[in-house]
Symmetry: D2
C-alpha cells in the first residue's frame, strides 16, 4: 500500500436502508484502523453532516453488528443538502472534524449528492452500492439485494402453504418502483406463475391465457407483481383477474417494508465486506468519485454519474425461464 | 383402552388453514392405526364430504408432513353443507365408505357444522381447535396460534430494523377481525408502543399522548393494530396519527396472509399431536360433540356449542404490561 | 401499589445464558422506571457484583434488545462468591451503589447463591427462571426453553431432509445433562422414532425392536438423545445401534451450543416480560427469597430452596404420545 | 430450438444431497414437458438405475417441491455401478424404459460415473453441479453452496450470542474435507477471528499471536475450521489453543449434517432452475459429456473430466479480508 495522505475517513449511510449496511460500516471502520487511519461515523447521512452529528469510531463501535439489519449510523433524507448553503455547512463540519475522505453507502440519491460535493469541494468520496433494488450499474449485485429476495421467498413460501390449502390464486406485490429485479429473481425462486415488472410491457390478455391454461392441473398459483409495473400494483392486477375469472378464489398480499430489514445473508455480508475493504484501500491510493462494485467476481469501479443510470434491461434468459417453468 | 365399536375414523380440515393442521392429521392417522382402526382422509372439509373426495390413509400418507404448514387434506367453504340436502349427501357418503366417526379440525364454523351433523345423524364427532386466532373457549391455545404470533414477531423484527434506521413510526396491522389475541401477545413480543384490539375501546387521544411522551427519548415506534379494532385498521389509525403529528415519518404495513402459513413451531406440533391422540382415544371411548383442548396442561373437553362462543375478554395483566413496558 | 421503601433495584444474569434474558432485563428496567425507581445493571452476575461492575440503566439502555439472544449484562461463574469474603465484598458494593433489592435471572446455581446472600445480609432478592433446560420447579416453562426446543426442531427439520434423501438413521444429541425436557418436546415436534432421556431407564433392546419394526415402512429415522441419558450420549447409542444393525446407514449429530442462542420466540419474550414486571412489583411489596414463575397462566411464587429441587418426573402422557406416533 | 431426436429424458440425483436439488429436478421435468419430451425420474441415482426404480414424471410430480431441501428422487452410493456388469444392467434398464438422454445432478463421483457410462454406451448425459462444497471447476457456485453457507452463518450467529454472553472463544467446525470454500465465505460472514482451511498451511503460532492480540479489546471470538484442515478438526485445534491459553474459556461446536439440509435460498433455486433449463435444451441440441455451470453470469459448459478436478486455490483477496477485518 503506497503511503496515503488521508488521515481520517468519514463513513455514512444514506437513502433507504438495506441489510448489509452494518457489515459495510464495520468493514470500513476495521480497514481504516488496520491501515492506522482514523475513522468517523456520520449519523443520518448528509443531514447529520450538516448538523454535526459525528462519532469517532473504534473496533468496539462495530463489534457484534455484522449480523444486524438496518444501519447503526441511521439514514435520513436531507433537503438542506440540495442547497449550496447546506453543502457548505456540511463541508465545514468535515474540515472541523479533520475528515479528509468519505465512504458513502447508499443508492443513486447518495451518489448524486456525492458527485456535487466532490465538484464543489474536491473532497475524495468513494461509494458502496447499498440498496435492496439492485438497480445500479457497475455491480452485479447491490448490498441488500440477496437478503431482500430471500425475504420475499420466505414470505411467499408461507403464502403458498395457504394458497395450496385453499386452491387460491395469490397476487403478491414486491418492492421495485422502477426496477423488476426483486420480482424477477424472487419470482423464479418461488416458482411463480407469472412475473409482472416495469421493464416489460405487461400483456394482460396473455396473462389471462396463461392462468386459464395452468388452471387445469395446478390448484394454487402465485403471481409476483413489482410495485411499479405498468399494469398497476397488485390490487389493480387482482381487480382485472377477478373481473375475468370471477370463479377464482383470489387474494392480494403486499409484502411491504419487511423487505428492507432482517439479518443479512452470507453473500450480502461478504459483498459488503469486500467492497468496503476495497473502498478504503482505494481512497488511500487516491481514487475518488466512483462506486465500488463487484462484476464477475472482481472489484470494479464506476464513476458515480454512470452508476446511477437506471438499468432498464433485464436478462431475457431469466424471463424465458419463468415462461418455461410456470406452465 | 376399552373395546371400541368404531372401525373407521374420517379426518378433515375445515375453515381457514393453520400451521400444525398437518401435525394433527398425522397424529390422528397414526393413533388410529396404533389402535388397529382404519382411517380415511376427507379432502376439502364438508365440501369434499359431499362430493365424495375420500382417501384411505396409512403411515406413509402422513410421513414427512409434521413440519409443513397448510393442510394436505385442503380446506374449503361449503355453502351446500348449510342445506339439509347437502348434509344428507355427506352422511350417505360417510356410510358408503364405512366411516363411523369423525375428527374435525378447524374453528367455530367447523364445529357449528359438526354439531348440526351430530344432531341430524348421530355420528360421533370430536373437534380439534385449528385456527391461528386463538379465539375458541375450552383451550388455552389453538393449533396455529403460536406459529402465527412468531411469524408476526419475525416480520416486525425486520420492520424494526428499518424503523430504527429512519426514526420512523410503523403502524402494523395483524390478523384478528374479532379477536385481539394475535395482536396482544405479538405486540408484547415486539415491544410495541401500543396495541389496538377489538376487545377494548380505543382511546385515540390517549394514544396521541403516549406517542408524544414516548417521542422524547425513543426514535422508532411500533403500533400493533388488530384488523378488527374499533378505531379501524392500520390505514385509518395512520391517517389519524398523521393528522395529529404531521412531523412524524409514519409508515403502514399490513402483514396479511403470511400469518397463516409457515412451518409450525414446536409447541404447535406438540399441541396438535397431544390433542389428536386424545381425540382418537376418546372417540373409541364413546365421547362426541366436544372440542378437545388443553387447559392448564391437561386435556379438556368442551361441548361444541360452548367452544364457539367468542371470547371477548383479554387478560388485563397483559394489557397492563404493554402500558408499563412501552413507555 | 403500596408505597415502597425500595429505591434502586439491581438486576443481573447468572449461569448459562438463555434466549429471553434480554427481554427480562428490559422489562425489569422499564418496570422500575415506570414506578420511579432507579435501576442498576450488574455485569457478569455475582462476579461483577464482587468486582464492582455496575451500570446505571435507563430506557435507552434496554431499547432494541428484546429480540436479541444472549444477555447484554453478560454472565460468568464466580468461585469467589462461594466464599464469605467474596459475598461480603459483593454486599459492600451493593451498599456503596445504593442498591437495596435485586432481581436475579438464572437457574439453580443463581438461586442457591441468592438464598445464602439473603440469609447473610437480608437484602431482598427475587428470581426469574432463565435457563433453556426447563428443570426448575414452580414454573410451567423457564425463559429460554421455548426458543431452545424450536432451535432443535429447526435443526432436525434440516437433518430430516438429508435423512430422507439417503434413507438414513440419525441419532441427534440435544442438551440436557439431568433433564430430558428439551429432548421430550422437541422429539415430539420432529416426529422422532424414539426419545432417550435421563428420567427413564433406557431399554436398548426395546429400542432395537422398535427400529426393526419401523424399518419396514419408513425410510428415515430420527432418534433424539438427551446428553445425560443413562445409555450414554449419541455416540454411545450409535455404536450400539451399528453393532446390532450394521446394515443401517447411521449418522450422529450433536447439536451443541446453537441451542443456547438465537432470537427468542414470542412466548419466551412474553414470559420474560410478564415475570419481570411481577418481580419488580413484588419486590416493592416486600416479597423476597422466591422465584417468580408462571403456573397455569398465573404468576406463581416459589421459595428458592423449592425451585431448585430437580424435577425428575416427566409427563407420562407425552412419553405415551412418542410411542403411539413413532410407529 | 432445432428439432431434437431425444424423446425421453431420465433425471437423477447422486452423491451427497444438497439444497436446491429439488428445484433442479422440477426445472428438468418442466422444461422437458415444455418441449414435449417425456421425462422419467430415476430413484437413488445409479443404484436405482441398476435396480429399475423408474418413475414417469409430470407437472404434478414436481409441484410444491421448489422450496424443499433434500431430493425427492433420493440418492445413494452404488458399488455395483463401478462394475461393468452393473453399468450394463443400468443401461439395459434405460433402454427398456425408452430413456435416451440423462441429466445427472451431483458432484465429482456422479460425473465420473457419467463419463464412463457415455464412453461405454454412448448415451448423452449432461450434469448439474449439485453439492454444498462448491469444489467443482466450471461454475462459480454449485447448487446448495449458498444455502449451506447461510446455514453456517445462522448457526454461528446463535453461537455468538452465547459466546458474547460468556466472553468465550468458540471453535466451530464446518464441512469441507478437501475444500475450504464453505469455511471461507461463512467465516467472513460471521466475522470470524480466523479461518482454517485445507488449501493453506495453518500456522498455529500465527494463530496464537492473533488470538492474543485480539483478546485485549474483544471479548468473544469465533474460529472457523474446515473439517479437512491440516491442523486437524475443531477438537485438535481446541486442544492446541487450550494448551497455549489455559485461561481462555474455549468451546467446540461441530455443525455437522444440518449444513446439508434446509429450504434452499433464492439464489440456489434460481441457479438450479437456470442450469436445468439449459441442460434440457442443450441435450436436445446434441451436447453431452459436460457439466452445465454458471460463470460470470452466463451458462458455461465444462467436460466432466475437467469439472471434477479439485480446485485447490482460494481467492487470495478473500483471505486478506479475513486478516484485515478480524483484528
Amino acid at each position: 500500500m503506497s503511503k496515503s495522505k488521508i488521515k481520517n475517513i468519514g463513513v455514512f449511510t444514506s437513502g433507504g436502508d438495506a441489510p448489509g449496511m452494518n457489515a459495510a460500516i464495520r468493514a470500513v471502520v476495521r480497514t481504516a484502523l488496520y491501515y492506522n487511519l482514523q475513522v468517523t461515523g456520520i449519523m443520518r447521512g448528509y443531514d447529520g453532516m450538516i448538523h454535526g452529528e459525528f462519532l469517532p469510531m473504534n473496533r468496539k463501535s462495530v463489534s457484534n453488528i455484522i449480523q444486524r439489519g438496518g444501519t447503526i449510523l441511521k439514514t435520513a433524507r436531507s433537503d438542506e443538502f440540495r442547497t449550496p448553503e447546506g453543502r457548505k455547512k456540511a463541508y465545514d463540519n468535515l474540515v472541523a472534524h479533520g475528515i479528509d475522505a468519505l465512504v458513502a453507502i447508499g443508492g443513486d440519491g447518495t451518489f448524486t449528492g456525492a458527485n456535487i460535493f466532490i465538484e464543489e469541494f474536491g473532497i475524495p468520496v468513494l461509494g458502496l452500492p447499498g440498496t435492496i433494488d439492485n438497480d445500479l450499474a457497475g455491480t452485479d449485485f447491490t448490498i441488500g439485494y440477496d437478503t431482500a429476495i430471500n425475504t420475499v421467498v420466505d414470505a411467499v413460501d408461507k403464502i403458498r402453504d395457504t394458497a395450496e390449502s385453499h386452491d387460491r390464486l395469490f397476487i403478491v406485490e414486491v418492492m421495485g418502483r422502477d426496477s423488476g429485479l426483486i420480482a424477477l429473481r424472487s419470482g423464479i425462486g418461488v416458482g411463480a406463475e407469472a412475473i409482472l415488472i416495469p421493464e416489460t410491457k405487461t400483456d394482460i390478455n396473455a396473462l389471462f391465457k396463461r392462468l386459464e391454461k395452468g388452471r387445469k392441473d395446478k390448484s394454487s398459483k402465485i403471481l409476483i407483481v413489482a410495485e411499479g409495473d405498468d399494469a398497476g400494483g397488485a390490487f389493480e392486477v387482482a381487480a382485472a383477474v377477478k373481473d375475468r375469472f370471477p370463479q377464482y378464489d383470489t387474494r392480494v398480499s403486499i409484502l411491504g417494508h419487511i423487505q428492507r430489514g432482517g439479518r443479512p445473508t452470507c453473500m450480502d455480508r461478504v459483498l459488503a465486506s469486500r467492497l468496503a475493504v476495497a473502498a478504503v484501500e482505494k481512497l488511500m491510493e487516491g481514487r475518488k468519485g466512483e462506486m465500488v462494485g463487484l462484476v464477475n467476481g472482481d472489484i470494479y469501479y464506476t464513476p458515480f454519474r454512470n452508476a446511477i443510470k437506471h438499468i432498464n434491461e433485464v436478462n431475457p434468459s431469466l424471463l424465458k425461464i419463468v415462461e418455461i417453468l410456470s406452465l
